[in-house]
């Protein structure tokens, strides 16, 4: 149990009125404070938490970045960003109170003096704003800056909290580019912060629907008995986007779809679908079960990669009726690039529950429609009693839509009105937006609150990350092999990916679900 929840239990005035662990007052230090993530996600998220009354009084934001700027200039810049990206309207009076808690600290990441003065400033903030020595260091800078930042934080003594206080670090993805670099990154982080101080953020886990997978599975008695190899034929996990690289070519060229999306987001979703019920809802109980799933993923040898993994790259085509260039024509992309913008895998989870149930995972850019979903395809009814003319009835499919239009639908068979037994598939549909008028909090809101409260449930643990890289590395190595590497397939922008990806399912007698 976290220190924060201990405090909540001791405050008798919280009894019965606070459903979640109350975050502690703290100072959030953002490294890379002038960057896109701070503007688009972090500040709007903190502002929304404040508007919802969940930000403890005294919480202070210190932006740490290289460019010279005054507190006032920084606040103005963040106000504009909040007005643009906040899910709730920015109110003058609320922003003013919130802005008073924001400060700017100018320093080079590699300058030890900047950290010394940061430490002094944080001590002053602790006294003035009663933040009690609690510090949340948020790494929104590029990964190559992590090492110098961590080194200097340690030298300035900022990695250690005083008695009764805490110091935590939030690390953004990518958590390395392969197992070796992830281990190196973990080593670097561990040099300054212990594992229990480290929060690796995967914003997919902060999404309402991702969290709802656990509720759907473990709070509804009707699903869990069917959630196994006996009743489930296969599972599909899809993350499709219409966008291309959109100015991220520098990063994307070295990463590709597999590293960018599969190693983290999609494997996290797979874990939530495939995991065993945890013993309780504590962070480590849930993460222990997720780790067991990642460890059970069947590693592929080169031959299996050629058979069960497809990589593709988009060529010119059209999205929503507008022509778009191919990947190799995009700005800052090598004209001979072999980076995959599409990946499809047939994954097996080697445990009793999932024996012989394939998980088909696909991710792609420049697909016709954006959407992330999990579809659970149940086995067909054993006998065709009614529809004798048809070859077989459709399968029942449970779809969990992660984004957009979050919700759950169940496809089942129903009799068509009429004198004969004609059967057609129908869909029962639940939309979060329809049933719950109140907008869900953004993933970053939930995750920031959790980090301030000391709840690591929705953050990736070191062993999860490393096991995921172990699985992905075998595929990357086969794709990068000089000899007999599986081909890079091509697909026109605006199509549903290369034909080879369709063949991956077709040879099992299955097909991708149309989003």
């Amino acid at each position: 149990m976290s220190q924060a929840s201990d405090q909540t239990n001791l405050n008798p005035l919280r009894e019965g009125i606070t459903a979640r662990t109350v975050p502690d007052p703290c100072t959030v230090v953002i490294f890379g404070a002038t960057g896109d993530l701070t503007h688009r996600k972090l500040i709007p998220a903190l502002y929304n938490i404040a508007v919802d009354g969940e930000l403890p009084p005294g919480v202070t934001v210190v932006g740490f970045a290289r460019r010279p700027k005054t507190d006032e200039e920084f606040r103005k810049e963040l106000e504009e960003a909040a007005r643009k990206y906040s899910r709730q309207e920015v109110r003058e009076d609320l922003w003013k109170t919130f802005a008073d808690s924001i400060f700017y600290h100018q320093s080079e990441f590699a300058d030890p003096a900047g950290y010394k003065s940061l430490a002094e400033r944080l001590d002053k903030i602790d006294q003035e704003r009663r933040t009690r020595g609690n510090r949340l260091f948020y790494f929104a800078a590029s990964p190559e800056q992590f090492e110098p930042i961590l080194k200097h934080l340690k030298e300035a003594g900022l990695n250690k909290a005083r008695d009764g206080s805490w110091a935590r670090v939030v690390v953004e993805k990518p958590f390395g580019k392969d197992l070796a670099s992830a281990q190196e990154l973990n080593r670097v982080v561990r040099n300054a912060f212990a594992e229990e101080q480290t929060y690796r953020i995967d914003h997919f886990l902060g999404k309402e629907t991702a969290q709802n997978i656990l509720v759907l599975r473990f709070a509804n008695a009707i699903f869990e008995p069917l959630w196994n190899t006996r009743y489930i034929d296969h599972v599909q996990i899809t993350a499709a986007e219409t966008l291309g690289v959109e100015g991220r070519a520098g990063y994307y060229e070295g990463a590709g779809a597999l590293r960018d999306m599969v190693q983290n987001h999609l494997l996290q979703l797979l874990c939530l679908v495939a995991m065993e019920p945890p013993t309780d809802l504590s962070a480590d109980s849930i993460r222990d079960e997720k780790v067991k799933v990642v460890r059970s993923l069947r590693r592929m040898n080169a031959e299996e990669v050629a058979r069960d993994a497809v990589r593709g790259q988009y060529e010119k085509g059209a999205i929503n009726g507008k022509p778009v260039p191919g990947y190799r024509e995009e700005e800052k992309v090598n004209p001979n690039s072999t980076t995959e913008t599409y990946a499809a895998l047939r994954v097996l989870v080697d445990n009793w529950r999932w024996a012989d149930v394939p998980f088909y995972v696909r991710v792609g850019k420049r697909l016709p429609k954006s959407g992330t979903e999990i579809s659970v395809h149940f086995k067909k009814a054993p006998m065709v009693l009614f529809n004798k003319e048809s070859v077989a009835l459709d399968q029942n499919v449970l779809v969990i839509r992660i984004q957009p239009d979050e919700g759950i639908s169940l496809r089942m068979q129903a009799k068509m009105p009429g004198t004969s037994f004609r059967i057609e598939p129908v869909k029962m549909d639940f939309h979060y937006g329809t049933s719950f008028g109140k907008a869900s909090p953004e993933a970053y809101e939930r995750l920031l609150l959790d980090a301030m409260s000391g709840d690591a449930t929705l953050f990736a643990r070191r062993d999860e990350v490393e096991h995921a890289w172990r699985f992905v590395d075998t595929i990357e190595e086969a794709w990068a092999a000089k000899k007999n590497a599986p081909p890079l397939c091509h697909y026109p922008a605006g199509s549903w990916g290369p034909e080879e990806a369709d063949d991956l399912l077709a040879r099992d007698g299955r097909a991708w679900r149309r989003l």
């Binding site: 009894e15 009125i17 606070t18 009076d93 009690r132 939309h431 719950f436 109140k438």
Partner: protein
């Protein structure tokens, strides 16, 4: 009749109860209503919400309330305006829908409203009217806006999941609570009680609680000697609920005094905690100040805003003499509102 959420620049929507229908044909007329609008609109419902009032003109006021409620909480609303003392027996019904553009896009999300005016002895048919129009399987919330009569029809409580009421305007608190206890005893299931007089304290309570989240602040509980509350006219019972909550959470005992009307508490160390209540126009609870040793913890409504101000400060030397130093007019709390 389908009302759609419209832009601020357009004329305000009317809050008429909708299209008149025969009571026996409500389901058929509702079906027709949705057939007309199929495709562009989605009907949504998470609860049955029945609102009962005996106030004149309540249909329009409650229709307006339902319009706002359904923006965040899709429901089947059943709005009843009753006048049991009307000389003539009469019942009328209307159907309507409140539609709002959903967050996801252009499709409108609609909640149904069934409205009834029941006059004279028709008001006795309330349970049958409500029960025959509930959406099956969804929880049933009954918002009782009037005083409870004695005896109430036991049928009414049979399926209520949550009973919403407001104890603030009650004149006879004991008899009203007895009715609620009877309702709970007669119900086939556990009724969750929701007193709006209590609910409206939640923000003040949260604001006050945050002062004491850190263990280092807990010693202040043992040093509280004085609490002052400003309440709006008519909201003394709200202030008393707040006092009751604070006393219960901090395990203070009510002190018996010679003056039966005075309200003082004793903590586990036999220290006396005095309460001072001031009636002031404004928010139901305009300000609450707790004094603990040299520190005061204050929660108040910001002037001209819907925000709360929380202030923790050292008491000035002159203010330490007595609790009354904070307020302008001293009103002692009564034991029973």
């Amino acid at each position: 009749m389908i009302e759609t959420e419209i832009a601020d620049s357009l004329p305000a929507p009317s809050f008429a109860p909708g299209m008149p229908v025969e009571i026996g044909k409500i389901d058929r007329e509702l079906k027709k209503l949705w057939e007309v609008s199929e495709g562009a609109m989605t009907r949504a419902s998470l609860i049955n919400l029945a609102v009962y009032s005996e106030a004149p003109e309540s249909l329009s006021a409650n229709t307006q309330l339902i319009s706002r409620i359904t923006q965040d909480h899709a429901c089947r609303a059943i709005v009843i305006a009753a006048n049991p003392s009307a000389p003539k027996d009469e019942s009328q019904a209307w159907i309507s829908a409140h539609c709002h553009v959903g967050r996801a896009g252009s499709k409108q999300i609609c909640s149904e409203q069934l409205s009834f005016r029941l006059e004279g002895s028709s008001a006795k048919f309330l349970p049958s009217i409500v029960f025959s129009h509930l959406d099956s399987d969804l929880p049933f919330y009954l918002w009782w806006q009037s005083e409870f009569h004695d005896p109430m029809d036991p049928q009414l409580w049979a399926w209520v999941d949550r009973l919403i009421y407001d104890s603030q305007p009650w004149k006879d608190f004991d008899s009203q609570m007895r009715s609620i206890e009877t309702a709970q005893a007669e119900a086939k299931q556990r009724i969750v009680l929701c007193d709006l007089n209590w609910t409206r304290l939640v923000h003040i309570r949260l604001a006050l609680a945050q002062f004491f989240d850190h263990p280092a602040a807990h010693h202040h509980f043992d040093e509280i000697d004085c609490v002052q509350i400003d309440f709006a006219p008519g909201f003394k019972s709200t202030a008393v609920l707040l006092i009751g909550w604070l006393a219960a959470q901090l395990k203070w005992r009510l002190e018996k005094t010679r003056d039966d009307d005075a309200l003082r508490f004793i903590d586990s160390s036999n220290r006396i905690i005095t309460f001072e209540l001031s009636e002031k126009s404004g928010e139901p609870i305009g300000r609450m100040v707790i004094r603990s040793g040299e520190i005061t913890f204050s929660v108040s409504h910001a002037t001209g805003s819907d925000l709360l101000e929380v202030v923790q400060q050292k008491v000035n030397p002159g203010g330490q003499q007595r609790c009354g130093g904070f307020g302008e007019r001293r009103v002692e709390a009564r034991r029973t509102p």
